[in-house]
């Protein structure tokens, strides 16, 4: 389809494992965002790219979290040495113009045991 695509949809990791979550934004969208949504909470901003440039990473909770978008299209969110508190749905969104109207993917649900 033409929407934002995220993979995997579900990921179970053992504490201490590294995980990588992928996002394919809508074609042509220059802005890409990652959000973290814990159970019963609203999405919380993690990081923002404009093309390949990471303009804001103020929401990344620790240096275990790393995001990249090397060619200005697909993005990967990597979490190293996962902890139980990392369990959440990770949402990717893209936009043609900043944070106006964001188009969200279905999310990747991470469960850390």
């Amino acid at each position: 389809g033409a929407g934002v695509s995220q993979s995997p949809r579900y990921k179970v990791a053992k504490r201490g494992q590294d995980v990588a979550l992928r996002c394919d934004p809508i074609s042509g969208h220059v802005s890409l965002f990652w959000y973290q949504q814990a159970l019963g909470q609203g999405p919380e901003f993690l990081t923002y790219f404009q093309n390949e440039a990471q303009l804001d990473k103020s929401g990344l909770p620790s240096d275990r979290f790393f995001a990249e978008r090397p060619e200005g299209s697909v993005s990967t969110l990597k979490i190293q040495r996962t902890q139980q508190e990392d369990s959440a749905v990770y949402l990717c969104a893209s936009s043609s113009q900043g944070a106006g109207e964001l188009f969200f993917g279905e999310g990747s649900r991470l469960t850390v045991l």
């Binding site: 909470q41 303009l55 804001d56 929401g59 969104a93 944070a99 109207e101």
Partner: protein, 113 residues
């Protein structure tokens, strides 16, 4: 401290009646507000937005009202339909930080047939 607050975790309304979802914010620098709708296991989808230069924006059955002096906005759905049952998130942006939409915790709306 939460900058965007949705104080009602849930709301139940009869089909055909009006649904009113409320949202309060604390940051007077916010200048753009959005409502997103989320069904289970799906990403949030954009519903309607309003700029701080307006006090009302209407789109079909959905109307958003903004009261800047009270730092309050509301979403009215009339008439409500069973398909409107979802979690509704209020979000705000301060324009200066393009990537950082601040979300409330959401209100779960149930429209009873």
């Amino acid at each position: 401290d939460q900058q965007v607050k949705q104080n009602s975790p849930s709301l139940s309304v009869q089909e055909g009646r009006i649904s009113i979802l409320n949202c309060d914010y604390t940051n007077s620098m916010f200048d753009y507000f959005l409502w997103y709708k989320k069904y289970p296991a799906e990403g949030p989808t954009f519903l309607i937005s309003i700029s701080s230069i307006k006090d009302k924006n209407e789109d079909g059955r959905f109307t958003v009202f903004l009261n800047k002096s009270a730092k309050h906005l509301s979403l009215h759905i009339v008439p409500s339909q069973p398909g409107d049952s979802a979690v509704y998130f209020c979000a705000a942006n301060n324009g200066g930080s393009q990537g950082n939409l601040i979300f409330g915790k959401g209100t779960k709306l149930s429209v009873k047939p």
